[in-house]
Symmetry: none
Subunit: 125 residues, 4 copies
DNA sequence: GTGGTCTAGACCACG
DNA sequence: GTGGTCTAGACCACT
């Protein structure tokens, strides 16, 4: 499904959660699709089941997963426009600003950045 | 100078370093400008001098600061275009792609994103 | 494992790091081998764990060690031939030139130096 | 005469001493040649006279300089073969071994190293 | 048990 | 006064 880097300073459970978020956000995992069970994934990644469990709990609490008792975990629908959404989006915009500044600071050409952004935004989901 | 969140899970020294990086890449701190002494900043933030020291040390090892013995720490010049730079830039582009996807996933309009990006890129440094 | 000189002007953490580098570049410590835990080594050297930690941290940031959370620190693989490598090698050559001049200045015979160099280079790793 | 790097972590007085040693060892400064006065050199390098003074003291105590009261400092003759010499040479050989290992560890070719060493040793002093 | 963070407080070298 | 080192001791997150 994906690889985790045991050597990374980042906790494994965060890496697992991050990977799921990425797959969901990019559309690789669709709404209501079933995800592997904790034990299956733990075995596949050769990590402790507790670690995967922790990742799933986090994903569920952040609204990316939902769980049906006895059936497993599933991908949630994308968020509706709610009160908290604009708050989250402004946080994302803040990160985006920082990233753009960092690219410029590292000598990247503005045109290249714009081109890249347009390329990403226009690719079909 | 800036605020840190003592309650955050993020280590204090990382927050300090992150804030300095932000101020440097956005151009708020200029080349060769002196930064507060370890003791001064520690007092201002009400943290232990060792903690600030750790942040400064990291900033120095990453090339953002340089130190003159007995005189203090100073802002380094922006990185030259070296061989390692492209590696760093591709990492930044990877983060950028993820961020753009996340904005779209949260229902943000493509036009608004493009507008924001152009706004950031065109503002005078 | 090795000895450090508590009286030396050289910081303890640098001595520790230096010793590990020596063991790594001479091949005494192999890739992926586990190194003593911070606490173990601190006890063995009768220094503070923070001091050993600092050494390990530096070795990690310089690419000699890698860390697996909750499991310990390990020896990294030798560096790939990257762009920055030639820069480092030319620095080493500069030191080598100085060292050779110093040997000659101290009256050492050229033949003896050459013999020594060939001996070191040809010994099996 | 030479440049010092104020940004280096290395103390200025050590840099000054090191530079003199280098010039003496490579034969750029000859026996009995007069060196600049402390004040002259301090002005030329724009550093504190105390710092230059400290460097000169160190060079004198290590036998590279000798001082004639009221006339200034001069370059000493190369060391005769004394009891301490072999001790120093074995230390230099130790450093040499380390340097050679480090070059190999960084992927340098043995032939290139040998060629470099021969080149340095055969160049006229 | 592992590494990582933080504090309090002391001492040193450098300029 | 500046950064740098070190200790003792506490607490936390991860596996």
């Amino acid at each position: 499904m994906f690889q985790i880097d045991l050597r990374s300073r980042r906790p494994i459970y965060e890496q697992v959660a991050e990977n799921f978020k990425r797959l969901i956000i990019t559309g690789a995992l669709k709404e209501n699709q079933r995800v592997p069970s904790v034990r299956e994934l733990a075995q596949a990644l050769t990590v402790n089941p507790n670690t995967v469990q922790k990742a799933y709990r986090e994903l569920e609490s952040q609204g990316y997963f939902y769980t049906v008792l006895g059936q497993g975990s599933f991908i949630s629908a994308p968020p509706k426009q709610s009160a908290g959404a604009s708050e989250k989006k402004s946080a994302l915009y803040g990160q985006l600003r920082g990233l753009l500044h960092e690219l410029l600071y590292n000598g990247e050409d503005k045109g290249a950045v714009v081109k890249f952004v347009l390329g990403v935004l226009n690719q079909p989901q």
